[in-house]
Point group: C2
Chain length 304, copies 2
Amino acid sequence: MEETKEKEFGNLIRGKKVAKEVQDGLKAELEELQTKSPKVTPKPGFGYIIVGERPDSSLYVKMKIKACEEIGIQVKGDNFPVDATEEEVITKVQELNDDPEIHGILVQLPLPDHIDEDKVLSIISKEKDVDGLHPANVADLVMRGKSPRFVACTPFGCLHLIKTVCPDLSGLRAAVIGRSNIVGLPMFSLLQDANATVTLCHSRTKDIESILKECDIVVAAIGKPQFVKGEWLKPGCIVIDVGIHSIEDKTKKSGTRLVGDVDTASAKTVAKYITPVPGGVGPMTIAMLMNNIVKSWKIENFDE
Amino acid sequence: MEETKEKEFGNLIRGKKVAKEVQDGLKAELEELQTKSPKVTPKPGFGYIIVGERPDSSLYVKMKIKACEEIGIQVKGDNFPVDATEEEVITKVQELNDDPEIHGILVQLPLPDHIDEDKVLSIISKEKDVDGLHPANVADLVMRGKSPRFVACTPFGCLHLIKTVCPDLSGLRAAVIGRSNIVGLPMFSLLQDANATVTLCHSRTKDIESILKECDIVVAAIGKPQFVKGEWLKPGCIVIDVGIHSIEDKTKKSGTRLVGDVDTASAKTVAKYITPVPGGVGPMTIAMLMNNIVKSWKIENFDE
């Protein structure tokens, strides 16, 4: 996937480029299916709910809408004020559940403190749960012999990136750092299901260096800027950096720059492949959301 | 928990004794609650379904019934012939779901090939799913910040045994060998939730010795007789042996003897604590089933 020649260390896995390939593929697939079967629901539909005006949440939603528009997914959105009630939000989720033009529902997190996130998420129909957080999808991801309808977008995107440089994970050692419900835990299940031998590391893990030293794949999702150091890594490994943090940098005009959970400068000298921040995992999260919406539409219309 | 003095290596974790303590505790608790609140459902109720006459399944069910009787749990059982239809079994599950005297339902596995196990298990009400296999219980076990109503009995029993000799697992390294839905995967989640750093090993794992060498806790549930060797282990570790196999032994009158997934003779010289086979994990599975039935009855009657 690299245009430049592959080096022994420090090759970038360009998530932005891979995400564009995924989205271009989805667009082409949609156009083909719509031409062949003009009678099916004309377009996949994406319904989102955002409460309040957090700049990060607003930006993420904007990026998702833009991706939908590029692919040919119609969007119905609801922007609630920050003091919206839980009941209002739940009523809207139920409307989207019942709307035959909507195939995927996203409630942008975090919600304001007075709204119970778990309660709101549990209302989303599992058939439209394109974020992969419904208990039925979680259980199907975890259990052997079952396949979830939807997988959480960020870890699903990370697995896709890993596979672009290493299609067969069987027998490899992997470490996932961080155990959140939306990244670390589903990432563990995906790597395990791909037959890697996975160690789940977290804030209570001792001597993490000695674990990473053995691992062919490292996924860092612990939420600490530049936490993973190059000298902890196994030479030639693959590093996926899920973190994104703004840190002070006086050499920049803005006074800040974006970094991940990995100290990229040192890691690049040891890892064979590494995702940049920004432009690595972030774009893939959106691409996999698009993938899930189109998948939902295909199941609805083509019984796949 | 050992009556004899603790040694540096080879102390037995006597599951049979621990299981008896758990069951005696449940019996005492039941008697106390029934004396205090004579108006509540007089007894917890256990409903089982067994199809066919496999000797191992029949034996397990008998042991579960005996434990219920000792504690004071009433039992309603249905023994179907091996050619019972899926519909008959499902109808019985639904009857048990609706029966207010039943607080826990067990369908003894395996079912004959013509009956879809997943389908039958998915019918069991999650409020009576004392085997902990319902997707809602699986998802709640896996996800951070949630607590399942019921945990699968064998891994739950293993955790209980580990805690008798090591109450605080935070920061320890653990390996689970085997990734079945009823043992390996929930065992991983339980150890992880107890803040151990867990590596899930399986049939595709390479160089398992080097992983076990780092681990303070090893749970073997891979289904291969005497697979784990003492020389693979970290000196002073805790070994939980979930396997049970009958192997040839000409020195025995019966011509066979029972062994686990661990080569106990060599492991005893390296591990500080190890469960025997038989008399280790097996009795704990039954004790945790009893625990789950009583828990269900308490939630129903005391809103716990």
